[in-house]
Amino acid sequence: MVVSSGPRQTGGHGDRGASPSHPTAHLDKANITPMSDTAIFQAPGTGGGLLDVFHRRYLLRLLVHKELKARYHGSVLGMLWSYIKPAVQFGVFYFVIGVFFKMNNAVDSYAVYLFSGIIAMNFFSEAFGNATRSITGNWALVKKIYLPRELFPVASVFVSFTHFIPQVLVLLVGCLVTGWHPTVWQLLAGVGGFLVLAVFALGLGLIFGALNVVFRDFENVVDLILMVATWASPVIYTWTAVRDALGDGPLWWLYQCNPLTNVVEIFHWTFWYPTTDGRAPMPTQMPTFVAIAAGVSVVVLGIGQLVFRRFDGRFAQEL
């Protein structure tokens, strides 16, 4: 590599007639000798998307840390809130639905059933909701410094993960109290289910996070989606109730193709099923549904990446 010494001669290039509208253009294609070195010339701001996030793991970690620190700043209880909130939420559902509406009698260890669904929905809601707001929320950075912007939605998902862990711990205590004997497969299914959920939330977060930059209405759309989502999955009721109402036709399939429904079912299988006497039925086509859910999540992530890329160049000027 040639290292030039000092400032090079500038201006005063000849051959100006070649581009009359650019009296001072330096790019004079006729005089350029092709060299192998040109390979490393790159258009700025066109990174590898989510792959870049992987390359900048250290920054990701700091962004997650920043997010958590900012969130709990000046709060006495800090991270403890991520135990308190789900506990209260659980208490409300448990007493209203379990005790007053007598779901406790209909479903074995309903408390565990309920909570394993709730933690899936909580993670999803937080990850998707915050990812949607992550680009607009980090406007100062987005506007001024080039970063792989996918970092922000991904960081939101990780932040939600740190809130998910305490909830799993609380759930595990509940499971152990009610006599939990999971098989290895059930544990692996739980991990797999979580990954599907994370991928799905990130995919949607990328799509809506990008759209939200152009029209802030999308964050309200997402709130609506999340409101419906909690009830569109068997969190407080059981899947059999849905099948009884919908039959097992196309509507039932549609219901089951929702990745959320499947992840909730997987979590039931991981956490709740091993605490029961094993007589509760699981949907017979479960493996098919889970495969579809995983497929849907991956496709959504792919679409999310494409939509995000498409809008990425406009983020700085729209904010």
């Binding site: 290039h13 509208s21 790019l27 005089n31 100062a140």
Partner: protein, 251 residues
């Protein structure tokens, strides 16, 4: 007229234009109504911030980007850094780009100075090891040792900028974009910053400096590029660029 050595180029800007859409409304009602009436054009207006700009900057070269307010200087830097995309033409850079543009952008008020150094260093592309290695130098440069474990929201605005600036000048990019640095800090600190920038130039970094301080830039660079309402009207010796601007200012 010698052949241009391609491997010496750092930035190549070829016939770049940038348009902004100025939306008059985002209200759904108006968008729908105007859309139905076929008067979509009334909803927004195109504004051209850069028109047909071509420019090549080489390794070890420092150029000044000059022009009146709103002439498109910051926009051009944003295109080079990749913050925004160009609408027409192409831009290519070789090596990594960092900028002294809104140096505090990556700072978070609730984090301490120390945490912000790490966060901002990482934002500007430094590796963890590199930040650890430069940490003491950054703190020394900023001269705010005693406050390093204080949250930056308690800093004075000058202290804040010092720290932000100290991080930025200790990154190690190949291309350095500098926008309005003289807004930073008190006079001794400004001198220090200029010295550091001179050092970077002498190390062979490619520098693009935007400033309204014509005397300063003419001491710094040999080449000046002048933008006027988004068009490039001069690219050549800095003295001519400065003379051109002064002439225009007089009318």
């Amino acid at each position: 007229m010698g052949q241009r050595q391609l491997d010496q180029d750092r930035i190549r800007i070829d016939r770049v234009s940038k348009h902004f859409t100025l939306r008059h409304t985002r209200a759904v009602k108006e968008i729908v109504v105007k859309g139905l009436q076929g008067r979509r054009k009334e909803l927004s207006e195109q504004f051209t911030a850069l028109r047909d700009v071509s420019l090549t900057v080489g390794e070890g070269e420092a150029i000044a980007l000059l022009g009146r307010n709103g002439s498109g200087k910051s926009t051009l830097l944003k295109l080079i850094s990749g913050v925004m995309g160009a609408d027409e033409g192409s831009i290519a850079v070789r090596g990594n780009v960092a900028g002294l543009i809104d140096v505090g952008a990556g700072f978070h008020p609730d984090l301490t100075g120390r945490e912000n150094i790490f966060l901002n260093g990482a934002i500007l592309g430094m590796s963890e090891a590199k930040i650890h290695q430069e940490f003491d130098r950054i703190v020394a440069f900023s001269e705010i040792e005693e406050f390093i474990d204080t949250e930056v929201k308690f800093y004075s605005s000058g202290m804040f900028l010092r720290l932000a600036f100290a991080v930025a000048v200790h990154t190690d990019p190949d291309i350095f974009l500098v926008d309005e640095i003289l807004a930073v800090g008190d006079e001794p600190f400004q001198h220090k910053c200029l010295d550091r920038i001179r050092e970077l130039r002498d190390e062979g970094k490619c520098l693009v400096i935007v400033s309204h301080d014509l005397d300063m830039v003419s001491r710094f660079t040999d080449r000046g590029v002048v933008l006027d309402k988004g068009r490039m009207v001069h690219d050549g010796p800095i003295d001519e660029a400065v003379a051109l601007l002064r002439r225009r200012a007089e009318g």
